[in-house]
């Protein structure tokens, strides 16, 4: 008898025998789900498995005992929050839900025997595994850039940690009138609005602390999400002139019109079509060679290309493009059955790589895993995502989407997505509040 059939029989039997008195179909034989990665995706999956059925044994393998949340971490740079505020602990997940944690690194898996090995020498059996490996940065893809340069001189600060603090300190010590250059990554990447929000938050900070400073965002892309609403925010707050191709629908009169500034302000964005693609970087002089020429920085922040996190490669879950192909209905890997992949590392079609996406994918995967373990049919999934972003600490933006499975692909449903371009000052202010509240409630949903 196959394990699955056995569970199915057991599940059906338990339900018949117990009627309503025992909710769990696993009351007599608790299945074990191993989760690799304790970030947003892994933590949410663990919690929602336990919420679905506390009899499922859930073990999270994660290398860091304290998690640093990446979402909102640019707010360290402008001192809106401190590094401490990024720290998230696992106590609540352990104490409240009975989730087990193993702080260790996964080194290999045997998908046939369904066992996973760790660097610390542990071997764990699993009935199903959920892998949420996040991303790794490919520093070497940019000529002149490397992990050691990133740690010492040109931080990426895209995965929070020592580079975040380094970048913060560099920005705060930048000479008066200096230039802060951000190199935005090519698609696909974690947190689509991130590089543009970072530029905006620093422009706002410089306006007070270093008013003659400049912020330049170099980009291989010609657009980003949420482009026009962010560009309009820059226009209003930092004297940025919106390129003509983005001006459609922007208010030209009324409460808060878009303006054309004779003397543009401190923030500029060089798109790919304008030569913003980076060719190489020279760490010694902090200068960047682009198709549009050389840019000399006083502080340089490069967000390099990225692929699925290390463990996804270790477990042979990635395809030729560096991300993990999945059956979208269940998030089960198409390369290895029994292993589900969620978050930034999975191929999720129209969904952006965001914390919100990882959280909602974790819920879809957790539900599918419970159904599969119980021998039930899986249900049609539904995903959602909202990316909140700031053009200033009191200037909020967002893009909100719902996704369904259409022809085997995760497909965005049509409908209004963005804060409208003619949004009132009040709505924009509320948008910033939503962003701040989301930081708190989202962290609770994932980790508490």
């Amino acid at each position: 008898m196959q394990r699955r059939d056995f569970l199915k029989a057991l599940g059906a039997g338990a339900m018949l025998a117990s009627g309503l008195s025992i909710k769990s179909v696993f009351a007599n034989a608790a299945p074990h789900v191993v989760i690799v990665g304790g970030g947003v995706g892994g933590a949410t999956a663990a919690k929602y498995l336990k919420l679905a059925d506390p009899n499922i044994r859930v073990t999270v393998i994660e290398k860091n005992p304290v998690y640093l949340r990446p979402y909102g971490s640019s707010e360290v740079l402008n001192d809106h929050i401190g590094m401490d505020d990024l720290e998230v602990r696992y106590d609540r997940l352990r104490d409240r839900y009975g989730i087990e944690f193993l702080f260790d690194m996964v080194t290999g898996v045997d998908p046939h025997r369904r066992t996973v090995r760790t660097a610390g020498g542990a071997t764990l059996g699993y009935d199903r595994m959920i892998v949420s490996p996040g991303i790794q940065l490919l520093y070497e893809r940019i000529e002149g850039y490397s992990a050691s340069v990133a740690e010492s001189r040109i931080p990426s600060a895209w995965i929070p940690g020592t580079q975040t603090r380094l970048l913060r300190d560099q920005l705060h010590a930048m000479r008066p009138g200096g230039t802060f250059v951000i190199v935005a990554p090519p698609n696909p990447y974690r947190c689509p609005p991130g590089p543009y929000e970072r530029g905006a938050l620093m422009a706002e900070w410089f306006k007070v602390h270093n008013p003659t400073a400049k912020v330049i965002i170099l980009d291989a892309k010609d657009s980003f999400v949420p482009g026009p609403s962010m560009l309009l925010g820059w226009n209003r707050l930092y004297g940025y002139n919106v390129p003509e191709r983005f001006q459609e629908g922007m208010p030209t009169e009324g409460e808060w019109p878009m303006k054309i500034h004779d003397a543009p302000g401190m923030l500029d964005w060089v798109a790919g079509r304008d030569g913003g693609r980076v060719l190489s970087v020279d760490p010694a002089s902090l200068s960047v060679e682009t198709e549009a020429g050389r840019f000399k920085a006083d502080v340089l922040n490069i967000v390099p290309p990225m692929v699925a996190g290390r463990v996804a490669f270790e477990l042979d879950l990635v395809d030729g493009r560096g991300y993990c192909p999945i059956d979208r209905r269940t998030h089960e890997s198409t390369r290895h059955p029994g292993i589900h992949v969620i978050g930034d590392a999975c191929v999720a079609d129209a969904m952006p790589k965001s914390g919100f996406s990882a959280n909602t994918q974790a819920k879809v995967a957790a539900r599918a895993v419970v159904d599969l373990l119980a021998g039930r049919d899986t249900q049609a999934p539904l995903w959602e995502n909202t990316c909140y972003a700031l053009a200033g600490t009191e200037y909020g933006l967002y893009v909100a989407d719902i996704f369904r499975l259409v022809d085997g692909r995760i497909t965005r449903m049509e409908g209004p997505r963005f804060l409208p371009l003619d949004a009132s000052r009040a709505q924009i202010r509320i948008g910033a509040l939503y962003q701040q509240n989301w930081m708190r409630t989202f962290t609770e949903d994932c980790f508490a």
Binding site: S424, R425, A426, Q427, R429, I430, L433, N437, R440
Partner: protein
């Protein structure tokens, strides 16, 4: 009636002493005179303009399209008495109501509103039907508390101010009927634990001080949808 008045006066005095021991009293608390003046100066509300503001200020994203409340996190406002809604907006604006992190949203919103805006939004909610009613529930564990109060603990009947069916009373006394039970629990605990103090001379808080968690849950359930 005069008995009630005496009870009130006595409680006001006791309440005042209790407050003296509290750490963070708001800058300028309500007195009956100030509240009377504020409500007398309340602009006449325009419910249609209120409906437009309700959209423009995103009230609906938390409170529902007609204020019917979309989740346990936020109260229902449909059918709420206009003076109550208006007073709450004033209190958020002036920092008198800030019982937990949820209030931050309302503080920022209220600071962007004129008093005319507040009156209009209040009129919009008042024009909507109440989300429920709370008629006599004989045999309910707190029916006596609601209908007769508890003289031992100097608790007046809830219904004497909030209406026989929880529909609200005079002036700013809010309706409770059909309210989210989670909101009522939070609110009663906030009054009991002195984290909410925007009532006139602890006019509400004094009745919450002696309530047990169990009674608070039962009261919320009594008035809930």
């Amino acid at each position: 009636m005069s008995k009630h008045l005496l009870l009130f006066l006595l409680l006001f005095v006791l309440g005042g002493q209790a407050l003296a021991g509290q750490g963070e009293a708001p800058a300028e608390t309500w007195t009956p005179v100030r509240l009377h003046a504020a409500l007398a100066a309340m602009p006449e509300g325009d419910a249609e303009r209120g409906a437009r503001l309700h959209d423009a200020l995103f009230c609906a994203s938390c409170h529902g399209e007609r204020g019917e409340s979309l989740s346990r996190h936020w109260p229902a406002l449909s059918g709420q008495r206009a003076p109550y809604t208006y007073k709450m907006l004033l209190d958020y604006r002036d920092g008198l109501r800030h019982e937990d992190a949820r209030a931050e949203m309302m503080v920022v919103l209220a600071r962007m509103m004129s008093e005319q805006d507040m009156a209009d939004v209040a009129a919009f909610y008042a024009a909507q039907p109440l989300p429920g009613s709370a008629p006599l529930k004989k045999g309910h564990p707190v029916n006596d508390l609601v209908r007769r109060g508890d003289p031992q603990r100097l608790i007046t009947p809830c219904a004497s101010c909030h209406g026989v069916e929880g529909q609200g009373g005079r002036n700013e006394t809010p309706s409770l009927a059909g309210q989210r039970p989670e909101y009522l629990v939070r609110t009663l605990k906030a009054f009991r634990d002195n984290t909410r103090h925007n009532d006139v001379h602890q006019g509400m808080a004094q009745f919450a001080w002696d309530l047990s968690d169990e009674e608070i849950r039962a009261l919320a359930e009594y008035y809930a949808r």
